[in-house]
């Protein structure tokens, strides 16, 4: 089996339009959650979210491109540009034929659909823009990445709700490990912050109207974000041979299914996924120094996730650090695991663990070191990134310091 390393990272999210901006904000505990600003927001009962700020799509893309790029594709392409530039790779010849793209998204082009529904149902129009279908399809972002960088190998999109990008990155990891591809562009994106997107979420009654406070006793729900995280996953030998800078190594991955409920989380499913990732990586639980939690800030997730961590790690659960960066960049749904992987890279490479901000009161059901409010200097050897989706689809990645 081949070893797999990360040689490039890129992002667009509410904390910044690049990885350096985002990591600086995570170190400082900046909150990207603000009043939502889009059409018809006054008809929503939930009016906060972590919207991307200052992203000038007209300056980044041509008019012809924008006719085909939903915001989730725009975010993906900007993040991919940053990641591929950092990796130093160009794709031609045999490398181009074998390298591919696997991205996660839960909803794809939600705002493209929303705008079209508004036009035909609310405004009584009888036609919509001719490119609605290629713009909203879940695989559009992966397609445009492959087209933009000449990636001609295996490319597809994974959709497992809030675990989509972790499942996608797990596929990229497995494909490189097995020798199917030397390089994969991977991660995920989401852009649900539009009237229809938030209106649908309101119905579930799991959203907070004021703040995201993971693990805090007074937490009252999740807050949605938007954006993309994209990485270059690469065969270790290939990266070494060309002298690439290695951000960290991907050492293990596991996925499990709760097989129980369409929205409620399961301690057993989460525990089996974390245990599986450790077994896949061949590492002891005592080696894990940091867990980037799923940590949505809902009553159920945070309680169940902490119980699962305690079940898997035993006494070591009290020693490791666990934080939820969703408190800063919001829950980016199908793209969230990708943006959260940046916090793992920061912990492993820079020795800084991002905090859980908005933490106000201890909860006995979440009695772990959740790095409340202020970033922490630490030198973890191994980090886990958790994603536990609606429908009980769990995906956990294990990463090691380079």
């Amino acid at each position: 089996m081949k070893r797999v390393v990360i040689t490039g990272a890129g992002t667009v999210n509410a904390l910044g339009l690049s990885v350096p901006e985002t990591l600086a904000a995570m170190r400082e505990g900046v909150c990207g959650i603000r009043p939502l600003a889009f059409r018809d927001v006054e008809r929503l009962s939930i009016r906060i979210g972590a919207q991307v700020q200052g992203f000038d799509a007209d300056a980044r893309y041509t008019r012809g491109e924008l006719a085909l790029y939903d915001p989730f594709t725009q975010f993906t392409l900007s993040a991919a540009r940053e990641a591929i530039a950092q990796s130093g790779l160009t794709f031609a010849g045999d490398l181009a034929d074998r390298a591919g793209v696997v991205l996660g998204t839960a909803g794809g082009g939600i705002s493209t659909g929303d705008d079209s529904y508004r036009a035909v149902y609310a405004e009584g129009k009888n036609r919509v823009h001719p490119f609605v279908v290629p713009k909203l399809m879940n695989s559009a972002a992966a397609s445009h990445v492959s087209m933009t960088w000449n990636l001609r190998g295996p490319s597809f999109t994974v959709s497992t709700a809030c675990a989509s990008s972790n499942h996608a990155m797990g596929q990229a990891f497995s494909m490189i490990r097995s020798g199917m591809a030397p390089v994969m562009i991977t991660g995920g994106a989401e852009s649900m912050l539009c009237f229809g997107g938030v209106k649908a979420w309101e119905g579930l009654r799991v959203m907070s109207a004021d703040a995201c406070r993971p693990f805090s006793a007074n937490r009252n729900g999740m807050v949605q974000g938007e954006g993309a995280g994209v990485f270059v996953f690469e065969d270790y030998d290939y990266a070494k041979a060309r002298g690439a800078e290695i951000l960290c190594e991907v050492v293990g991955f596991a996925m499990t299914s709760d097989a129980s409920d369409i929205v409620m989380p399961s301690q057993d499913g989460a525990a089996r996924a974390m245990r599986g990732a450790l077994a896949d990586a061949g590492i002891d639980r005592e080696d894990v120094g940091y867990i980037n939690a799923h940590g949505t800030g809902t009553a159920a997730n945070d309680r169940v996730e902490c119980a699962a961590v305690t079940e898997v790690f035993g006494d070591h659960a009290k020693d490791l650090l666990i934080s939820s960066t969703k408190s800063m960049h919001g829950h980016i749904i199908g793209g969230t695991g990708a943006v959260e992987l940046l916090a793992c890279i920061m912990a492993l490479r820079d020795g800084v663990v991002a905090p859980t901000i908005g933490y106000e009161a201890p909860d006995p059901d979440c009695a772990l070191d959740v790095v409340p409010n202020v970033a922490r200097d630490a030198r973890p050897e191994v980090a886990l990134s958790n994603a536990f989706a609606f429908g009980g689809m769990n995906a956990v990645l294990a990463l090691r310091r380079a």
């Binding site: 009888n126 036609r127 823009h129 001719p130 490119f131």
Partner: protein, 85 residues
């Protein structure tokens, strides 16, 4: 603006050229408008003139609406406006 000027404005916008560079004899191909661009042109024509243009990209020559050049588009628009107005 008469029909021809409006059609020229739509094509110039799509081709990203000045309207003065589009003449009645200009073809979509000559303007660099590909098949995806042609679909956008038809959408813009439908919106501008409030007409339904019968056009199937699989069988463009059987559509009864010749989009090959400016003058034929203008003639098609005027016919559809008379029929559908």
């Amino acid at each position: 603006m008469n029909t021809q000027d409006q059609v020229i404005a739509i094509l110039a916008e799509q081709a990203m050229v000045a309207p003065a560079d589009v003449t009645p004899d200009s073809t979509l191909e000559g303007l660099g408008i590909d098949s995806m661009g042609a679909v956008e042109v038809i959408f813009a024509i439908e919106e501008t003139f409030d007409i339904a243009v019968p056009f199937n990209a699989n069988t463009p020559s059987e559509a009864g609406f010749d989009i090959s050049k400016v003058s034929s588009i203008v003639a098609g628009v005027e016919r559809l406006r008379a029929e559908q107005g």
